[in-house]
Every structure is written in C-alpha cells, then in structure tokens.
Symmetry: C2
C-alpha cells in the first residue's frame, strides 16, 4: 500500500571523471546526510560514480572494473533510504557494446535495481552512441514505501513527441513509463549548461509532468569537465507541471522535498549574463582543480578580452593566484600598458612586464635573409603574437601555471587570431563568447564596481600588431559579425538565410562563411574552453579541414 | 531470365569532401568509360558524391541540397549500365536523423533504386551514428539482366556472426540479404587503411562469399582526407571465397570482371612497410592538394624523424616543392648540421640554415628577471623548440608553405615533445608511426639507394636541447617503449597485461601509462596526421584532459 508521504533528497554533486575514490566518498557522504534527514529516496547525477563524460576511458577494462567495485561499495553503505546513482556498468550479453549508461538503485546494503539509459545522445558534444549499448524498454519502476517510482536518465526525457517538432528517436521512454501507472518519475542527468537552456529544460520537464500527471524530480550534475560545464539547476515539478523545488545553479546543493504537496527550496533565478559569468568561473575553477593547477597566467594587453578573462580568473582562483603579463611590442600604444596596469591594480592581481621588442628584432634578424624583400606584414604580425605565446608558455613551464588564452568566439570563428600565438594556452576561457557578449560580461562585472577600466570598455578593439591597427580594418562591426556567426555556426543556416537573419548583405555573409571554413585548421589546434552557446567550436563541431564545399 | 554473363566495373576513385562538381564529373567520366567497356554494372565508393567523411558538413542544409542535385545530375548521365554510387540523402520521415548514408542505383537517365546503410560505425574515427539514420532491412536487390544483385555499404558486412567473437550489432544484413536468393553481392565502401587491414578485409570478405555461396565485388574509396587514408584495394571474390580480381592500392584504378567465371586484374600485393610508405605519401599529397598547398617546409635536424618525413614529402610533392630548414641551436652537434645537409643533397630538396641562438639569447634576456634563479632547464628546452616552430610558421605565413611537423607516435604518446614547438605544423605526417617503425621505414626507403644518410639511421636519437642529451636519458629503449604503447593505447590493456605483453616491468608500464594520460593536453592541440595503426591519437581516441583515473 502506498504510504502517504515520500521524502526525496536531491544530491546535486560535482564529480570528477575517473576519481572513483573521491566520487564514491562524496556519494556516500551525501547519502548518509539524506538518511539523517529522513529521506526515503536520494538522487545523484548521471554517471556519478565515474564522472561525466568519461569518454574513451570506458574502453579500458580497468576503468570498468573500478566502476563495478565502486558501485558495489556504495551499495554496501546504503541504509534505510533507496539511493539512485549513475554508473557505467558492463553489458554481459554476447552482442552489442560493452557498457550501459546505468542508474543503480540500492537500499539496506545491497543493489535492488538497475536501469539502462535508452536514448543515447550522439550529436554536438555528445558521443554516447560510441560507448553505450542502449537499454531496452519499458524501464525500471522502483517500489519505495508503496510508491511506484519510474526512473529515466537524461536524454530519455528529451524526446517528448508533443514538445519537439522532429523527435530524433522512434521510442518515447516517457510515454512508455507513464503507461506503467507511476506515482513519481525521477530523472538523473548530466545535462550541460548553455545560455538560456535552464528555461527550456524547465519548460520541457514541466510539460512532461503535466502531460503524464506524475510529479517529476530531476537531479542534474554540477561542475566543469574540460569543455563542458554543468549548471545543476535540478528541480521538482508537481503533477500539474509547476516547479515546487529547485537547486542553486553552478554549485553543489542538497535539499529534500516531501511528496505529495511539499515544497523544496526555490532560489531566485539569475538572468542570463549573471548565469554565464558563474558558468565561466565554475568551468575554470574546476578545470584547474581537476587538472591540479593552482595558479594561472595570462597576457594582459589592456584590451577587453584579456580584461574579462583576468577578472573571471581572479574570481575563480583568487586574485593572488593570477599572474598578468603585459608584453608591449613595437606597435603597442602607451594607453595599452596604462590600461593593463590599471586592470591589475583594480583586480589585485600581480602584473609583470616583459617587452617583446628584443626577441622580435632577433627573429627579424635571423629570418630576414629567408623572408627577402616583399610583404612580410602578416608573417611579422603573427611573429609578435607567437613571441607572446612562447613567453607565457615559458612561464608556465618554469612555474607550473595554467596558461589562459584570451581569444573570443568572434575572432576564433573568422581566424582573426594566431595559432601558437594568442591561441596558445591550456584553457580558452572565453572562446565560446562572441565579442558583443564579452562587452556585456564586462559591463556586468563592472556593475558592482569598476573592476575593468572604463577605458578598456570604451576604446575601439585593436590587436596592435601594426601601426594604428583596428579590428574594424579587417572585420565588419561586431554588431553585424556576431549575428552572422550565430546564424552560420550555431544554426548551420545557408548563406542567404544567414544574411537575412543577421541583416547583412549576402556578399558579406558569403565572405564570413568562407573565412569560417578556411580557418578550421587553426581551431583544430586550439585549447579546450567551456561551451556556453548552442554550438561551440571544439568537440561539438566536427569539420573536415581538407574540403572544397563552397557556400 | 538471368543472362549468362554480367560485366561489373569497379571504379575505385579518389573523391574530395564537398567537391560536388569535381566528384560528379569524375563519377560521370568513369561511368561513361565503363559503359564504353561494355559494363552492365559500375560500382563507385561509399558517399562518392559528397566525399567521405563529410562530418558536420551534413548538418548544413545547403550541403544536402547540393548532394541531392549532384545525385540527380549523375543519374541523368547514365546510359546502358546501372551505376551504383554513394551519396548522403535526406530522410523525409517525421522522426529520426535527417540523412541516410545511401547508395543510389541509376540507369538509362534515371534513378532506379536507393539503399540506406544499416550498420553505422560509431567508434574509433567513425561518427556515423552522429549523422545518419540507419536503413531498415532487408535491403536492396537490383535486377540487372536477370541477375539479382544485393547491395550493402561498408560496415553492413563487418558484423558476420561466424567471423567475429563479439558482434557489435544485433542485425546481420549479410545474412538477411543472402536469404533473398542473390546471384551477386556488391559492397561499396570507405574503409580506411591501417597496417595489415587489407589482409583482414580480404579474409572476411572471402568468408562471406563462401558462406553465402554468392560472388562478392567490393569498391572501396582511395585517397587521403585529413587524418584518414583510404587504400582502395577493392576486390572480387567468387562464390568459393577466392579472390578473382583486385585493384591496385593507394591509387585510382578501374577494371572490369565478367561473372560468372571471369577474372579481373591481380596486381601483386605489397608487404606492410611498402604499403605504409605509399599510404603516407598518398595521405600527404592528398592533404596538400585538397587544402590547396603546393609546397611544404619542415625542420631538418639531422635526425631520423625529420629525415623520413622529408623523404616522404619529396615523394609526395616532388623534391623541388620541399624546403628543409636546419635550425642549429646552442646544443646542436656539428654532426647534426652535416647530416641535415647530406640528407638535403641526397633528396634534392632545398635547405636553408637559420640559427636560433640570437633569438634564444633574446628570450633569455627578457625572461631572465621573471624566471629568477633555479631550474630553468625544461623551460629553456621548450623555448628552443618553440623558436624553431615559430620560424617554420613564419616561413609558412610568408610563402604559403604547408608546415610538416615531424614527431613520431612514441614521443607524442609520452609527451617527449613541445607543444607549439616541434608539434607545430599543419600536418603531422608520422605522428602515428612508432619510433621503431620509423627506422623500418628509413631502411625500406634506403633499399633503392641511400636516400637517408646511414649516419642518421645509425646514431642514437637525441633532441639536442641540452648538452649531450640522448632520448635514452628520459625514455626506456624504444624496443620496450613501443610495445608498451601498443598494448596500452592500441589495445587499451590494463597495466599488468600491458607489462606482460611488452615484456616490461609493471613499474615501467605504470609509469608509461601515467605519462600517456598526463600528456593528453598536448595531443589535444596537435595537427592532424594520417592514422595507420589500430588506434591513432587524434579524432579516433577521445580522452578527457581533466580526469583522475589512476592506473
């Protein structure tokens, strides 16, 4: 018989890929906390045991062995409550892939159920079809205090045929599960952040709860993993689709909710730019921590990109852990150095100055005979950028700093950047932020106080690699370029449609599309950076270099 | 009624991704040639219309539009023979992915059949599950002169349940097709080269022909596309599984065979190292041609890696199109410069000399205050490599050369290389060749005449970045290291099993496994290079950087 009350705990934790001891310890700690709080059911994120995404590590036998052992160890720690936690588990059948993306239910010291994710996202940044054998329907229904609790994993609920115009998969696990007469639907996930996705996710989940007339509680991963940042934002919906509880975003969180009728916490929802800022800070602090870096170094030019990167780095790591390097060159303006110094003072970061002139002269000396007469401007512009890259890498090699590259999405899209120069680094923090959004971020950071010098925000952007150079010499205004990139890259629109959407000429749209294509070789070699838009360069956008498709 | 004779033409062509005009023209030219030769059926490779692999280009509407138009254009050019050619075609159903990996049959000016690939490889370098909707069985049977001709595409035949220990897919398209009473089975493919794969492919196809008692004719792609090189090696098998005709490998080829009982050409099969050499030459010449490069530049150190790379580049592009750059530094030996000059003379390539000393001194001058006292050796070693990288990139920027990086798989595996230094370049030609195999290649190249100086082959390998440095100061002997890498990377074996396989100590195996993991961040930023082993670094090996899995 169904008990009148079920207390569900949501343990929104930050896991580390491959850290079986650390992840297990965290799961057990939160599980015990939930039991102390009287919870009947505790939810953890997708693949909590192994971290997400484990990628090709799941092809290692020893990785799967560790996952099995940790899964059992955690099960043995369970007490009165049912713990539901994700783990990569072996497929013991004689055909198909080796591994399931599983959710394990355990209670009173032993495993009591196992669910295999059915819909495996294989697009954009996701490669789950590469690794996992899909589960077969109709899914797992746990019995907890008489409640019938149906389990899904992340993508399983992203195929609602009444919500999407064109569902990607034939099966609809939600509809099949709903037919099983549920009292509660729980979804454990690792759904990465992108700008505004939280709203879509809530709208979709609310719709599912309403349509199936079953309350829905989700537990999403939080934390940064290479190019992905997970926002958490776990939430509970009642059977009318109303949000009745939710986690704080971009941090670990724990809460409980009593069903039916109870309420969980409802932290205020931040606006998009505030959320973006927190996403970037989390991405960087987790990347550094999970790779073992404690300090970062970056070139500080006096411009907006390095200023925003430095400000975010100071937030993520602490100002005292960030070293700025001003590297004035032959075409740097006086104002640039002044603005760089001003920024460092405002942020409280250390700044050192290393002039590139002597190295540049030495390069010109040894390359002169080979370069010969003729136009050396592009080669010499790149040289200046590469000297700066080598200086930062030198400091990294000498002191173990993480090098932050400071390129934005707009310049990376059209190749207005130097491979091994300003593109050099271990983490490309704002590589998925279009220039216009970099400005928005700067203004948002300055709302509290003028952290970024007003002059840096006000002046016209310049690479300062030749006399009086301005970005606008070579690029259309960012207010036109950014919507074009969004149309061509994020939406994969044809040139004509992109031009129309961005209110640009077809000629310009075609030129930009070609520049984007032509510069794929540079992006292939860029460091990882956090994806925050619908389509980031990097893992989620896989283009050939040698191709002749002409738009 | 089945006619007594069917003439099948195999058009093993080299396509370019996205080059719809060029690929179409080539298909039509070979199709007409086949008709002139009296063929009844002409086979072209998988995705011949678009090139393979088109990757995320298939997400562009305009790309699919072009593919449809080219497919129709080609169909209109057909005459008396049935042409069978691959193309990415739209899925017009209301669920599922947008695109099929299709084979189109056309005859007498119109399309007469369409088959959709059922098994979509989604592992290693393959991402077909990301792009394509799988076809549904039981497949296409063409009627040509009364013959019943069954069609499969590449992976469809790689799931024979009697051949593989653990089939990856539940369906077996070959078994289903065989049940349809065929007279002939044709397979169009884009099956990339790896060392020794040709033998496996033939053995497997022979087995299928024998098991189904149906002759099998395959048409495989040839050519290089970024990190993949396709060897062609198309072949015909009679119903007993015997090879009765085959294409030349690593080049375009055209032949016909009369069924039943006829014979096609049977070019001699090359040994593995000879095949490897041709694979690398084709990979580079196609990469350069398809990207629009006519000349290449590389650093020539006097060592074995740059010597082999230079020799292959001279074969691929012509000696007069290759520029070697000797960049002696403070720790270069006299012998190195002599060996570099000797190599250039033997190859007939141009050599220039650019000393790095003045630039190195300038860097030390500006970095000295920041470096301070203490151990600057690793930082300064990397600086020397980065100066060389910047010089090559400078020449590339100035003259439009393709920069060839010269790192081998062994050093890239353990991170014995400098990011933005010796790793810099547009194409990493020998990045998937273990050091011991580099030596085998060198000896093979020298079989004809001493192209590579004997001294270069004989001397102990050294990076020459500090006084009297030898690789063996930091690395185990390559005869041990290479089998360890093979066990850990190519086979994903656990440390203990890897140690046993490579006859190394567990301690060494563990240390090497950790070095491989720790250096993932460098490999993430390396240029593409041709995959030639079972597991190449790059697109086919997707590892997290920030992870804590400890072997």
């Amino acid at each position: 018989m169904k008990s009148s009350r079920l207390r569900v705990a949501v343990a929104q934790i930050d896991t580390t890929v491959g850290d079986f001891p650390g992840n297990s310890e965290k799961i057990v700690a939160f599980g015990r906390r939930a039991e102390s709080a009287g919870a009947d059911l505790v939810l953890f994120p997708e693949l909590a045991v192994s971290g997400y995404p484990p990628r090709d590590l799941v092809e290692r036998r020893s990785f799967l062995d560790e996952a099995e052992r940790a899964t059992d160890r955690i099960a043995r720690a369970t007490g009165s409550a049912t713990w539901l936690y994700g783990a990569p588990l072996r497929n013991r059948a004689r055909t198909g892939r080796n591994v399931f993306n599983a959710a394990v239910a355990a209670r009173a010291g032993r495993r009591v159920g196992e669910y295999h994710k059915r819909l495996l996202p294989t697009y954009d940044v996701f490669d789950e079809g590469r690794y996992f054998e899909p589960g077969r329907g109709p899914g797992l229904v746990l019995r907890i205090k008489g409640w019938r609790v149906g389990v899904t994993i992340c993508e399983d609920i992203w195929n609602d045929k009444t919500f999407w115009k064109r569902p990607l998969y034939a099966p609809d696990p939600v509809a099949e599960l709903a037919a099983l007469d549920l009292d509660l639907h729980v979804n454990v996930s690792a759904s990465p952040y992108t700008l505004g996705k939280d709203r879509l996710r809530r709208r979709m989940m609310g719709r599912i709860a309403r349509r199936t007339k079953v309350p829905l509680v989700s537990c999403n991963l939080v934390g940064g993993n290479d190019g992905l940042v997970f926002d958490g934002a776990s939430a509970a919906f009642d059977e009318t689709g109303r949000v009745v509880g939710s986690s704080r975003s971009f941090e670990e969180d724990f809460w409980t909710i009593d069903l039916p009728g109870g309420r969980g916490p409802k932290p205020p929802v931040e606006d998009d730019v505030a959320g973006l800022r927190r996403a970037l800070v989390l991405a960087l602090s987790d990347y550094a921590a999970k790779c073992g870096f404690r300090e970062a170094v970056l070139g500080v030019s006096g411009g907006i990109d390095s200023a925003v990167t430095a400000a975010l780095a100071a937030e993520a790591l602490g100002a005292e852990k960030v070293l700025g390097v001003a590297m004035p060159g032959p075409y740097s303006s006086k104002g640039s150095l002044r603005d760089a110094r001003d920024l460092a003072k405002r942020l409280g970061i250390r700044l050192i100055e290393i002039p590139i002139g002597p190295v540049f002269d030495a390069y010109r000396g040894v390359l002169g005979p080979a370069f010969g007469p003729g136009d050396c401007v592009p080669a010499e512009e790149n040289l200046q950028a590469r000297i700066r890259g080598a200086i930062l890498m030198g400091l990294s090699n000498r002191f173990g700093y993480l090098v932050l590259s400071t390129g934005n999405k707009s310049e990376i899209a059209v190749g207005y950047c130097t491979l091994y120069g300003d593109m050099a680094g271990g983490y490309a923090l704002i590589s998925d932020i279009p220039k216009t959004l970099v400005y928005e971020l700067a203004r948002r950071i300055n709302r509290e106080r003028e952290t970024i010098p007003a002059r840096t925000i006000a002046k016209a952007p310049s690479a300062e690699l030749r006399p009086n150079q301005k970005d606008s010499d070579t690029l259309p205004p960012y207010a036109i370029l950014d919507p074009l990139i969004e149309a061509l890259v994020d939406r994969s629109l044809p040139v004509d449609a992109a031009a129309e959407r961005a209110k640009a000429s077809k000629r310009l749209a075609r030129e930009i599309a070609r520049r984007i294509d032509r510069n794929e070789y540079k992006r292939r070699q860029m460091p990882p950076g956090p994806k925050v838009t619908a389509k980031a360069f990097g893992e989620g956008r896989r283009y050939p270099i040698a191709h002749r498709f002409r738009v």
